[in-house]
């Protein structure tokens, strides 16, 4: 049985941080969940969608994050409890609504789970979304453990309802995507019904609303003063205090223990970080002479604490504050117990070592030289490899130094060797099309290069349509290529408006990409990128036309295809492959570089790795000797 539906209060189970957040929402009796997928947040809505029918709650994949927040807010305004989840970039997409819904206020508990990705493990940036809580005057909670991820989410709904504001729950990759012990709580009966009354107007008497918002925030601050999510661990009279929030708690505890400082260093762990519970913080810092602040990523807590300390009466002794500003912790990237321990060791004049130096030297010298790097690449059978090959070939044929503006999705890897280095710009969702619409206007300034904007199917709906309309309206010379693989592949193949199914797996109306393009009035063609020669030819032809036009390369993600339909056997006909005598320069393994294609050094022939190959067969159409064949489909 799923740990999300398990009705055994008191039982301890293994849960991913994101599942724990979903479970916390269930234990709060959540009614409504809306989200756009984004790493590291996607498992929150996915988990809720999985149990939606079981609990009778509603879950949807929205077209983007601002729509998700607006939809969830509607549920809140009708008195229901709602949650939205998003990655850090999604918070930016929400920003416009966030900066007005704070003024209008909300009714039913509304929780915004913002999952940041320090070190940008799966992102195009790293940003600290906590700044939005301060920016928008909204209460901020930061879970430090898996247990807290659940318990804090539940409490966030209650707090939101109490003060009539959305509550931001900020997680990070190492909480969201790690797993640990969670003791389950009770699952309540859901009894709320939806009904709207009153008015929620932001923009009427704004200064008065803004002042009321500050009062609500003061109310949250009062709640925070006695919150169970803030605690102090260590000696009563510690002169040195590590102050931390979120993921920093476990790292700090281990760092203090690793240096044997448990008897002299205390840890002040905060779960409620905006607004700061000021009395609570001062009470625990009043004996301290030195404070090290540990957090991911920006010096957010650090700056707020410094402001608080500056406001203290002059009679209080000065406290030395260490953190990002002092250079003891980075202020960028993710952190771990070693970084915290090194910071502590530097301040304390101690030495911190986690392994024998001689061994470390030997391990480095013995293990690393000659170790082949393993760069991420497109999956075996990925249609993007064929699409980017076709784009590269068409641009080369065209010969005018054309280039590709990139967007966010699996195909972002096209900026590197996997996609033949084709993407030359990469920013945020929809940016490729917007940039291309600008480049396409530069002919009057001597610009003579064709511009191709790539964007995924899900990205098309999320953010690229306004850019395309702009290109059409202003008659920009743009070729948009929609890389349509049938789902939001990067984050786990969640459905989107043209997938034909909804978040819970039921059939859904299909919004056709090419029909939208036609309505905008641009030329549109749909091709299969696995018919590579045809794809190249048609792309080349489109590049010769002025104005905005769209090519949809449609081919389902082959990992999903192979999983659902079983994989076909692809093999190299050893009689036809003539190895290096061919003149193709090992095109399949060296140039096209699908992980399923390998070079057999003993036989001096190409070979298929049958474990890795997904059986897509595109290599069979590309081999100049026709030496690769698909079983049952030999040409």
């Amino acid at each position: 049985m799923s740990t999300l539906t398990l009705d055994r209060p008191g039982q301890t189970v293994l849960m991913m941080g994101n599942e724990a957040i979903a479970r916390g929402a269930i234990e709060a009796g959540v009614d409504f969940c809306a989200a756009y997928p984004g790493t590291p947040s996607s498992e929150i809505p996915e988990s809720l969608a999985r149990v939606a029918e079981h609990f009778g709650l509603y879950a949807e994949w929205s077209t983007n994050e601002i729509v998700a927040l607006e939809a969830a807010t509607a549920a809140s305004l009708a008195g229901l409890r709602a949650i939205v989840a998003m990655k850090q970039n999604g918070v930016n997409v929400c920003a416009d609504f966030l900066m007005t819904v704070n003024l209008s206020g909300t009714k039913g508990g509304l929780v915004i789970a913002a999952c940041d990705d320090p070190s940008a493990i799966s992102s195009s940036n790293e940003q600290d979304s906590r700044n939005f809580a301060r920016f928008a005057d909204l209460p901020l909670l930061e879970p430090a453990t898996f247990q807290e991820a659940k318990d804090m989410t539940k409490w966030a709904f209650e707090l939101s309802e109490k003060i009539g504001l959305p509550c931001i729950l900020r997680s990070v990759t190492r909480i969201s995507h790690s797993r640990g012990n969670v003791e389950l709580g009770e699952i309540p009966e859901r009894t709320r019904t939806a009904h709207f009354e009153g008015a929620y107007i932001s923009g009427a008497f704004v200064p008065i609303q803004h002042s009321a918002l500050h009062q609500k925030l003061a109310q949250a601050q009062e709640e925070f003063e006695s919150s169970e999510f803030n605690w102090y661990a260590g000696p009563e009279d510690a002169r040195f205090v590590v102050m931390t929030s979120g993921s920093g708690w476990l790292y700090s505890r281990e760092a203090v223990a690793a240096l044997g400082l448990e008897n002299e260093v205390g840890i002040l762990k905060l779960g409620t970080t905006w607004p700061l519970p000021e009395r609570y913080v001062i009470e625990h810092l009043k004996r301290a002479k030195e404070v090290l602040i540990v957090e991911e990523t920006d010096p957010f807590l650090e700056q707020n604490v410094k402001v608080l300390l500056a406001e203290q009466p002059e009679t209080q002794d000065r406290i030395e504050v260490y953190g990002a500003k002092s250079g003891h912790l980075p202020g960028f990237g993710d952190i771990n117990q070693d970084k915290v321990a090194r910071a502590l060791a530097t301040i304390k004049g101690l030495e911190y070592r986690t392994r024998d130096e001689q061994y470390a030297k030997k391990a480095g010298e013995l293990a690393l030289p000659g170790l082949p790097p393993r760069m991420p690449t497109f999956c075996p059978g990925c249609p993007h490899r064929a699409s980017l090959w076709a784009i590269k070939a068409a641009l080369k044929l065209d010969g005018r130094n054309g280039f590709v503006t990139g967007d966010i999705g699996c195909y972002s890897l096209g900026a590197g060797p996997a996609g033949f280095w084709q993407l030359k710009t990469l920013h945020c969702m929809g940016a490729g099309t917007g940039l291309a619409s600008g480049f396409g206007q530069l002919g009057r300034f001597g610009f003579d290069q064709p511009v191709v904007a790539v964007c995924g199917d899900s990205t098309f709906f999320h953010a690229a349509i306004p850019g395309l309309i702009n290109a059409r309206f202003n008659n920009s010379n743009v070729l948009m290529v929609v890389l349509d693989n049938g789902g939001t592949a990067m984050t786990g193949f969640q459905p989107h408006p043209s997938s034909g199914r909804d978040a819970v797996g039921k059939p859904a109306p299909v919004v056709e990409i090419e029909e939208i393009c036609k309505a905008i009035g641009v030329d549109v063609a749909v091709r299969d990128p696995f018919e590579v020669d045809q794809a190249i030819e048609d792309l080349y032809d489109m590049l010769q036309n002025d104005g905005a036009k769209v090519m949809v390369f449609r081919r389902r993600c082959y990992l999903v295809e192979a999983k659902e339909k079983g994989k076909r056997r692809v093999y190299v006909n050893a009689e036809k492959c003539i190895g290096d005598d061919c003149g193709c320069a090992r095109f399949c393994s060296r140039v096209f570089n699908c992980p399923g294609l390998i070079w057999d050094h003993d036989a001096q022939r190409a070979r298929i790795d049958e474990v890795v190959c997904t059986g897509c067969g595109v290599c069979a159409t590309l081999c100049p000797r026709g030496a690769i064949a698909v079983e049952g489909d030999e040409r």
């Binding site: 247990q147 061994y359 996997a418 992980p595």
Partner: protein, 201 residues
Amino acid sequence: MKLENDPLNLIITGVGGQGNVLASQIVASAGIKEGLYVTVGETYGASQRGGAVMSHVRFSAKAQCSPLISEGQADIVVGMEPVEALRVMAEFGNAATRIIVNPRPIYPAWVLSGQATYPPIEEILGKLQDLAESVRVVRVAHDGETPPPANLLMVGALAASGTVPMEVASFEEAMREILAPKDLEANLRAFKKGAEAMASD
């Protein structure tokens, strides 16, 4: 339960697509069933796309650990892919580390394209031997069928290796809870195969 090393640090490493995440989930669930605190930290940002993947699994009888193992602090390394086991040893190994490794290589894209070469497997195993307290190689006959999934094979080997404190039954119970019914039998078979390979090693 008392652990000899507390925390006990295990790294499961492999390549995207091999099922690292599922393997670590099963191992960790087995630990929780026996009353331990277990934390799993994953590095799978680009896992589906052929990158190296590593799961840090940390067991403690005392408290919840942080999700990451410190440099040089791996007690056990399970390598689903040999080069990845060596890479992990460079950063996380120490002289007392015990290694369980699947000798079947998965070639990185740069090896396929000829920009890098893959070292001979015996050389990799030799280096692992040099760096660890013990190296146990999990060799299974393919019997002409598709090779068993590396993740459950290696979990089986780990369960039977005596390096982790959990009973085999706890692993099997975790698998029954986590795996979809349609996948259960094939995965239990792979698990048993791994366990047998370890017993006959």
